[in-house]
Amino acid sequence: MFRRFKRHLKEGILGVFRHAGLSFSSISAVMITLLLISLFLIITTNLQKVSEKIEGSLKISVLVKYENESEADLKRIREEISKIYGVVNITHHTKEEEYQYYIDTYFEEQKELFKSYEDSNPFHESFMVEIQDARMLEEISVHILGIEGVFDTNYGGVSSRKLVEILNNIRIIGLALVISLCSLAIYLVYNTIKITISARADEIWIMRNVGARNGYVTAPFLVEGVIIGIIGSLIPVLLTIFGYIYLYKQTEGYIISELFSLIQPLPYVIELSLILVGTGILVGFVGSFLSVNKYLRLRR
C-alpha cells in the first residue's frame, strides 16, 4: 500500500517536472485564480460584515399627523405598527424631543434664533420603528403609511439598501469571474495532463497489457494534477496571510469609519488559506480527472 502510494507520488512529481513549461502555465493559472478568489473573499466577507451591521440597525421614522397627537391616537398607532410582521421594536419620540434634537444637532451656535419656534413647534410626534430585515423596509413603510393618523415615513435605509445591492452585484460578478478562472485553470491542467499521458503512452500501453488495474494507471496523473493545485496555491496563501495582516495593522482594523471595521486576522486568514488550498487541490484534481477519463478510458 505504502509502496504503491510512494510510486504514485514519485510519478506524479516527475510528471510535473517532465513538462515544466506546461506545468508552469497550469500552476500560474491556478495561482492567478486563487489570488482573485482570495481578493474576492476578503472583499465580500468584509462587506458582508458591514452590511450586516447596517442591516442590524435599520429603522423607519414614522411621523404622526398634527390632528392625531392625542394619547389615544398615539397608543392606537403604536399598537397597529407593532402588529406588522417584521417589526422588532418601537420607540416613541415626542415633538419636543425632536425639536431639541434638531436644534442640538444642527444649530448649536444659533440656538437663540429658534427660541420663537418653541411655542409653535413645527415637529411631529414620531415613532422610531426597528425592523428585522433590510429587504422588508419598503413593504413595512408602505404598510405604516396606510395607518390612519400617520403623516409620513422616512428611512435612511435607501443608501444601506444600495450598499446591499452593490454587495450582491459584487458577489455575482466575483462569482462569475471565479467560475471563469477556475474553468480556465481546469482546462490548462487538463491539457498538461493530456501531454503527460501522451508522453507516457508506452508505459500506459504496457501497464494495460500486463493487467495493471485502472486505478494504478490513473493515480499518478491525478496526483500530478493535485500537486499542480497545491503548488499553485502556495503564493496566494502566503500573500493572503501576510497581506491581510499587513493591511489590518496599517489601517488599525478600520477603513473610513468604525462602521467599516475589518475582520480580525485570526483565525480569518487561516480559514481563507484552507479554502484556497482546497480550491487549488479541487481544480487540479478535476482537470486531471477529466483528462484521464477522456484519454485513458476510451478503450477497454
Binding site: M207, V210, G211, R213
Partner: protein, 228 residues
C-alpha cells in the same frame, strides 16, 4: 481453453472484421494464425485480449466469457494473457532488468518476488548477461527476447505473439521461434503466433489457422494433415 463460437465483429464504421467464426484451441497448443492485411487477425487478438467485445457470438478464454467482462475486471483477466508485438515496445529509458520488472511492479508484486521472477525469465530467454543493458544496446532479436520475457513475467496462460519475427532476419526469427517453443513446453503456455512468414510455418509445422476477409479459410497442420 479458447472457445470461439459463431463470433462476428462489426465496427462502428460498418467494417465486418470477423464473420461467424468458430474456433477451439486447447490448453498448451502452439498455433499459427495467418492471413493478409484486413483478414481479421488483429480483431481476433483484440477479442482475446478483451480490448474489443464481439458483436455476436461467444469468446471464452479459460472459462471466462470475455464479451460480458466488466470494465474493471479486464485488467485482472489480462494478467492471464501475454502479448508481444513486432515493434517490441520496450521502455528505452529502462534497462532490460527494469523493463521486465516493470510488468511485475505495476501488478503489485512484492520486491523479492520481482527479483527472483525477473532472473528466472531472463535466464529462460537467454539474456541473463544483458540485465543491465539498455534496449538501444541490443540487437533486434535480443529486444524481442526482452519483450517476450516481459510478456511471460506474470506467468500468463496464453501468449499472443503478433508478428514477433516481422523485423528480424531469418536466423534471429528462428531463434525467436525456438524460444517460443521452449516457453510453450517449459512454462506450459498456450502460444498463438500471428505470422506472414510461410517459411517458418513450413519449416516448423504446427496447427495453422488462416483467415481471409473475416472467415477462417483453413485450419490445419502443414504437411497436409488436416486437423478439423
Amino acid at each position: 481453453m479458447i472457445k470461439i463460437e459463431n463470433v462476428s465483429k462489426v465496427y462502428k464504421n460498418g467494417t465486418h472484421a470477423l464473420n461467424n467464426i468458430n474456433l477451439f484451441i486447447k490448453s498448451g497448443e502452439f498455433v499459427y494464425i495467418t492471413g493478409s492485411t484486413g483478414s481479421g487477425k488483429s480483431t481476433l487478438i483484440k477479442l482475446l485480449n478483451g480490448e474489443e467485445i464481439p458483436t455476436k457470438g461467444l469468446v471464452e478464454v479459460n472459462k471466462v466469457n470475455v464479451g460480458i467482462l466488466k470494465h474493471n475486471k479486464v485488467p485482472l483477466y489480462r494478467r492471464n494473457i501475454g502479448v508481444v508485438f513486432q515493434d517490441y515496445r520496450l521502455l528505452k529509458s529502462k534497462t532490460v532488468y527494469e523493463n521486465v520488472a516493470y510488468a511485475l511492479e505495476v501488478v503489485d508484486k512484492k520486491p523479492e518476488e520481482i527479483i527472483s521472477r525477473v532472473r528466472e525469465v531472463l535466464k529462460l530467454v537467454g539474456l541473463n548477461d544483458k540485465a543491465n543493458s539498455f534496449p538501444d544496446q541490443l540487437s533486434g532479436g535480443q529486444q524481442q527476447r526482452v519483450a517476450i520475457a516481459r510478456a511471460i513475467a506474470n506467468k500468463p496462460k496464453i501468449l499472443i505473439a503478433d508478428e514477433p519475427t516481422g523485423n528480424l532476419d531469418p536466423k534471429m526469427s528462428d531463434e525467436i521461434i525456438t524460444l517460443l517453443e521452449k516457453i510453450n513446453i517449459e512454462e506450459k503456455t498456450t502460444i498463438l503466433m500471428v505470422t506472414h512468414d510461410f517459411i517458418i510455418v513450413k519449416k516448423r509445422p504446427k496447427r495453422t489457422i488462416s483467415l481471409e476477409q473475416g472467415h477462417i479459410t483453413r485450419d490445419m497442420i502443414f504437411k497436409g494433415v488436416k486437423n478439423v
